[in-house]
């Protein structure tokens, strides 16, 4: 297997891309960029036979990964089907980290205490970060997972940045022509908008 350059501040974001998850998704972007990290998502990866290979390559190139299992549930469209993408990508990541413990660290985020251990009992013994489905909870758990000694942003500061990011969304969507925040064309724009707000807070 070709050795990939691991980006030391990159975080593979394994989350559902649906409308109900929008505020949590934006909270992850705000929080991670505020902490000086570089989120990576599978949004830009097309479907097809090479998709899994490209997801695996993305995981390998990231030093950290964050797996949100709060919406592993049955969807409404017939036939009702559980969402297995997140657990599948978590499984791939766990195997990769087992083989390369110095190169990858993974975190499981959930909204409810002990639910992940119930749905995936093999996770017993794993400390999940419980965000309670709130934006504040996401920020708090990101700060618990990723600790900075210098230039540490606080949860209230991250929430303030996040509130400001939400104001940018309609303008950024208009500019890019995106119909949803989950479209690949707007992903980088959202990261840069958070970066601009964070710089004002930290570096101005």
């Amino acid at each position: 297997m070709k050795k990939l350059q691991v980006e030391p501040d990159s975080v593979f974001l394994n989350i559902p891309y649906d409308k109900k998850f929008t505020k949590t998704y934006l909270a992850y972007l705000s929080g991670l960029v505020s902490l000086g990290l570089n989120p990576k998502a599978t949004l830009a990866i097309p479907g097809g036979v090479t998709r899994l290979d490209r997801i695996f390559a993305l995981i390998r190139s990231c030093r950290y990964s964050l797996h949100d299992l709060s919406r592993v549930e049955l969807d409404r469209t017939h036939p009702p089907t559980p969402r297995f993408n997140m657990p599948l990508e978590l499984g791939i990541t766990v195997a990769w980290a087992k083989l390369n413990p110095m190169e990858h660290t993974w975190f499981v985020f959930e909204s409810q205490e002990r639910r992940a251990q119930k749905s995936i009992s093999d996770l017993n013994g794993t400390d999940c970060n419980i965000h309670g489905g709130t934006e504040e909870g996401v920020m708090r758990e990101l700060c618990n997972a990723f600790v900075r000694r210098k230039r540490r942003v606080t949860v209230p500061e991250m929430l303030e940045i996040h509130r400001e990011l939400k104001k940018q969304v309609p303008g950024l969507m208009r500019r890019s022509g995106a119909a949803s925040v989950f479209e690949p064309r707007i992903f980088d724009d959202l990261l840069l908008a958070v970066g601009e707000l964070r710089d004002a807070m930290l570096f101005a």
Binding site: R148, G195, F203
Partner: protein, 63 residues
Amino acid sequence: MGRSVIITTPIPTVDEMAKRLRIGKKRLATIREIVHKNSAKFLDRNNSASSRRKVEAREKAAS
């Protein structure tokens, strides 16, 4: 896996982020324009707070 990790990598500025994401200056300028239009109060407050802290630090160093 572990519950927390210490991050030691420097926080990249937005210009450094744009370079890494291969975003051109024009696109970055447009994004900045949108942010400055929608968050003028936030930016003013933080810029002035930061300037105030710098002035205070300079005065403290001089005394």
